[in-house]
């Protein structure tokens, strides 16, 4: 059985330690959480990549890689995520669990120390970030931002979010934007880095075979260089209750063979903090969240209107985002059908198997989180950003009691806000 402990390492710096013997690896992450803001998003996203280039002790990637290989091929990867309107930047690390080391050596302590070193003791030149590393990673980040256009499925959802939440922090991409990233200098990045270390709420996660006390000692020592600040920022999220009077419709043309139709709904203020949140989760699952959903079975399978059609729920922001791939001339038909499927949920046209299937899938998904270190970390980071302490098991139990009427009620709260259609170019 696994055991979960939450402890404050330093003021505003929290450790969540999961003790379990079931994995081959130990999973460690350190995340700095700050409000999503167009002015700082690009710099925040850049910081982990620049830090990952080298430390005071291991000044280049070769020597860092060598150190990681020496720890049985451990991985320390920059992680840039968005949880509601909180930008989460830092590192996710995975190391061989001590139990499988070939010579019985301890891996946790040196691994934690290396992680702390990467975060807190960067390779510097003239008291700041290396101009070389900064320029190189800046170019990479710009490539990633520009490259978002390559995967059209993700791109369509990305554009939808931008259009829909243009005036909200949520509309800011987790990677920032080109203009702000272009303007970053080694000095400005260094300044942002110092500020982030001082102000961000810090979330540390561990999952593996070590006892929480041992993890706490290892992480305290690894993060001893963090500035002491009793006043770190708490994550926050603005929730807009309702959509505009008329849905906004935006069409763009690109050289593609398949069209992408994305539709964004507001949930009328229903979010993860509300009592009836579980009904919203089931509503989304029935609508487009699973392979049993109305969008998948009816729009895709029965009517062959598209290759894929699914929906995701942004639980903190209160959004349901539909994503589908269609032929260009099926736009109107697919749009109408997607809305008709939502109306079916509103009016209670939900088969028993649809409701129960959605319930079982959602419950299974939450319980399976416990069997995967990375998913568990993702879950706990989301909870930390939302300021919630409920476990995946506790949350799973709440889905059992959701009724059909509650699902209908949740569906009635959904309001169409924006439609984005990516179509082909006419030759």
């Amino acid at each position: 059985m696994s055991q979960v402990k939450r402890r404050e390492l330093f003021p505003g710096v929290w450790l969540r330690a999961v003790h379990t013997d079931k994995f081959k690896s130990a999973y460690l992450s350190v995340t700095l959480m700050s409000p999503l803001d167009p002015e700082t998003a690009g710099a925040n996203a850049l910081i982990p990549s620049v830090l990952r280039r080298g430390t005071a002790v291991h000044p280049d990637m070769e020597s860092l890689s060598a150190a990681l290989d020496g720890l049985y091929g451990g991985a320390i990867e920059p992680a840039v995520r968005k949880k509601g309107e909180t930008q989460c930047v830092g590192f996710a690390a995975s190391f061989l669990d001590d139990a499988y080391a070939l010579e019985g050596e301890q891996i946790l302590e040196p691994a934690a120390a290396l992680l702390g070193e990467v975060l807190l003791k960067p390779y510097t030149q003239n008291g700041g970030f290396s101009p070389d590393y900064t320029a190189g990673e800046k170019a990479n980040l710009l490539d990633r931002i520009r490259g978002q256009i390559n995967d059209k499925r993700t791109y369509a959802t990305h554009r939808l979010t931008q259009l829909m939440c243009g005036e909200e922090a949520f509309g800011v991409d987790k990677l920032g934007d080109e203009a702000h990233v272009e303007a970053i200098t080694p000095a400005s990045l260094w300044q942002r880095y110092q500020q982030l270390l001082r102000e961000a709420a810090v979330e540390v996660y561990y999952c593996g075979s070590a006892q929480p006390d041992r993890v706490e000692a290892a992480m305290r020592s690894a993060l001893a260089g963090l500035p002491v600040n009793g006043d770190r920022l708490d994550p926050d999220c603005e929730v807009r209750i309702s959509a505009g009077p008329e849905p906004r419709v935006v069409e763009e043309a690109m050289d593609v063979t398949q069209g992408k139709l994305a539709m964004g709904f507001r949930t009328g203020g229903l979010t993860c903090w509300e009592e009836d949140y579980p009904a919203l989760v089931l509503c989304n699952a029935i609508f487009g969240g699973t392979t049993l959903s109305k969008l998948f079975l009816n729009v895709r399978e029965k009517l062959s209107l598209c290759y894929y059609a699914s929906s995701v729920l942004e639980k903190m922001k209160g959004l349901v985002l539909v994503s589908s791939g269609i032929e260009f001339d099926k736009y109107q038909q697919a749009r109408d059908e997607i809305l008709a499927q939502l109306d079916n949920i509103r009016s209670g046209k939900i088969e028993d198997w649809e409701l129960e299937g959605a319930r079982r899938t959602v419950i299974s998904g939450h319980l399976a989180t416990l069997d995967d270190q990375a998913r568990q970390e993702e879950f706990w980071l989301g909870q930390a950003a939302a300021g919630l302490d409920e476990t995946a098991e506790e949350l799973a139990a709440r889905f059992e009691a959701v009724t059909r009427e509650q699902v209908m009620e949740a569906a009635r709260k959904l309001e169409l806000d924006t439609i984005y259609f990516l179509k082909g170019k006419e030759d």
């Binding site: 070769e62 290989d69 049985y72 390559n150 050289d255 079975l297």
Partner: protein, 427 residues
């Protein structure tokens, strides 16, 4: 049941060949909530030409994948739906070599296993239902053809190989799938979905004997004839074409370098070649190799660089690729580094470190039931046990790696595939 212990990596595997020829492998995992089952046939996209009962068949590209889509249809409706209604996450994939069906569930594992074994072993389609799938698969083909990562890889296969069917897309083309009928699908099911040509791998909190009982109950009692496959004439060592280039809507040029390898032996010889191939790529271009650091520093590659070794029946190759502003310079740098290794050998310390690193990463990947089960299925079809790598690893020498690089990373065995931005798209 035969029990095999892989004590180094803390795994136990139960194995039995059933009376009908089905190979069953079970990894008991009492500490996990989820269970995972993988049911696969030794039949994939490249098995287009085969002989059954003395008669040769030439089938259109894309049949294995088409069949995978249609297998979910059952007399009662749709197996995806049935599984999803139990909270299971089912899916399937078709690779060049195999077709596999799987689910993961935290509840009703046995019932889900019965559904899986039943729908995969009982074909149920009509000409009408087959025709209807044309639209969905046509859309899927359209979507992957828009994907530059897929395109660059397929082009590489077509450049490396003269006639081996690995060069044909698993999904086929809109034209080739238009020639698929219900009869084609029934014939290929009969040829390849016999228990004696299949494997069932299960991981989870299960009783191995009980898994066998369920399989005996659901599947045919006796083994049938198995088709003989034909991959055409033996491939020359030389790449069929040294450069292939295409333009798409991408922001940065994408490239894949390929080096044609030797035909892998069936059995542990194939596993050994795989381990040598993987380690050789680590030494040549891997994350902690000198060349990687140099290319990264010079901005010739970025974080999207990946590399490795792959093998299929009748072919193997090394690959390395990602995004680059100058893929030709990358090709030259790899050739120069291979020549340097030819002269000076691989640094002994580097080699030992790489081995430790690769070993740890491989052991960590065993966290995933999917890796474990899919890995064992693929290994079984290739004639060895997946977890044997843990023992074999120690026997791989630096000289093995040097020899492989010397023989394979040569001008005539090299192919470069490029996807470049369409003109006028780059600002």
């Amino acid at each position: 049941m035969e029990q095999v212990n892989f004590s180094r990596v803390g795994e136990r595997m139960y194995h039995r060949v059933l009376e009908n020829g089905l190979n069953v492998f079970v990894f008991p995992k009492p500490e996990f909530r989820k269970g995972y089952a993988f049911f696969a046939t030794n039949y994939g996209g490249m098995d287009m030409r085969f002989c059954l009962d003395g008669e040769w068949h030439q089938t259109p590209a894309g049949v294995a994948h088409y069949l995978e889509h249609k297998m979910f249809d059952t007399r009662e409706g749709n197996a995806l739906q049935e599984l999803a209604a139990n909270g299971a996450s089912p899916n399937a994939f078709t690779s060049s070599a195999i077709t596999g069906y799987y689910f993961e569930s935290t509840e009703k594992f046995e019932e889900n296993l019965r559904i899986l074994l039943s729908f995969v072993s009982i074909p149920w389609f009509t000409q009408e239902s087959v025709d209807k799938e044309q639209g969905i698969i046509g859309q899927e083909i359209g979507m992957i053809e828009d994907n530059p990562d897929w395109k660059v890889f397929m082009n590489l296969m077509a450049a490396l190989y003269k006639s081996h069917p690995i060069r044909v897309s698993v999904a086929g083309s809109v034209e080739s799938i238009s020639r698929i009928t219900a009869d084609t699908l029934y014939a290929c099911h009969k040829a390849f979905y016999d228990p004696a040509n299949m494997v069932l791998c299960v991981a989870g909190n299960v009783d191995p004997e009980h898994i066998c009982d369920v399989a005996r109950e659901i599947l045919p009692k006796e083994a049938g004839p198995i088709a003989v496959k034909d991959y055409g004439e033996k491939e020359p060592d030389r790449a069929a074409q040294s450069v292939v280039e295409t333009a798409m809507e991408v922001s940065t040029p994408i490239f894949q370098l390929g080096y044609k390898g030797d035909v892998p032996e069936k059995g542990e010889g194939g596993l050994k070649q795989q381990l040598v191939g993987e380690l050789a790529m680590e030494a040549l271009v891997g994350n902690s190799s000198p060349l990687y650091a140099k290319l990264y520093r010079e901005g010739l590659i970025n974080q999207n660089f990946s590399y490795g070794y792959e093998s299929y029946p009748g072919c193997s190759f090394l690959y390395a690729g990602g995004e680059s502003r100058d893929p030709y310079a990358v090709r030259q740098a790899v050739a120069d580094e291979a020549a340097r290794i030819g002269r000076e050998g691989i640094d002994a310390q580097l080699w030992e470190r790489l081995k430790k690193g690769v070993y740890g990463a491989k052991v960590r990947s065993l966290n995933s039931f999917e890796n474990l089960c899919v890995g064992q299925a693929q290994a079984f079809f290739a004639g060895f046990d997946f977890l044997r790598f843990a023992d074999l690893f120690a026997s791989v020498t630096k000289e093995d790696g040097e020899k492989l690089i010397e023989n394979w990373v040569t001008g005539e065995r090299t192919a470069l595939s490029l996807v470049t931005p369409k003109r006028g798209k780059e600002a």
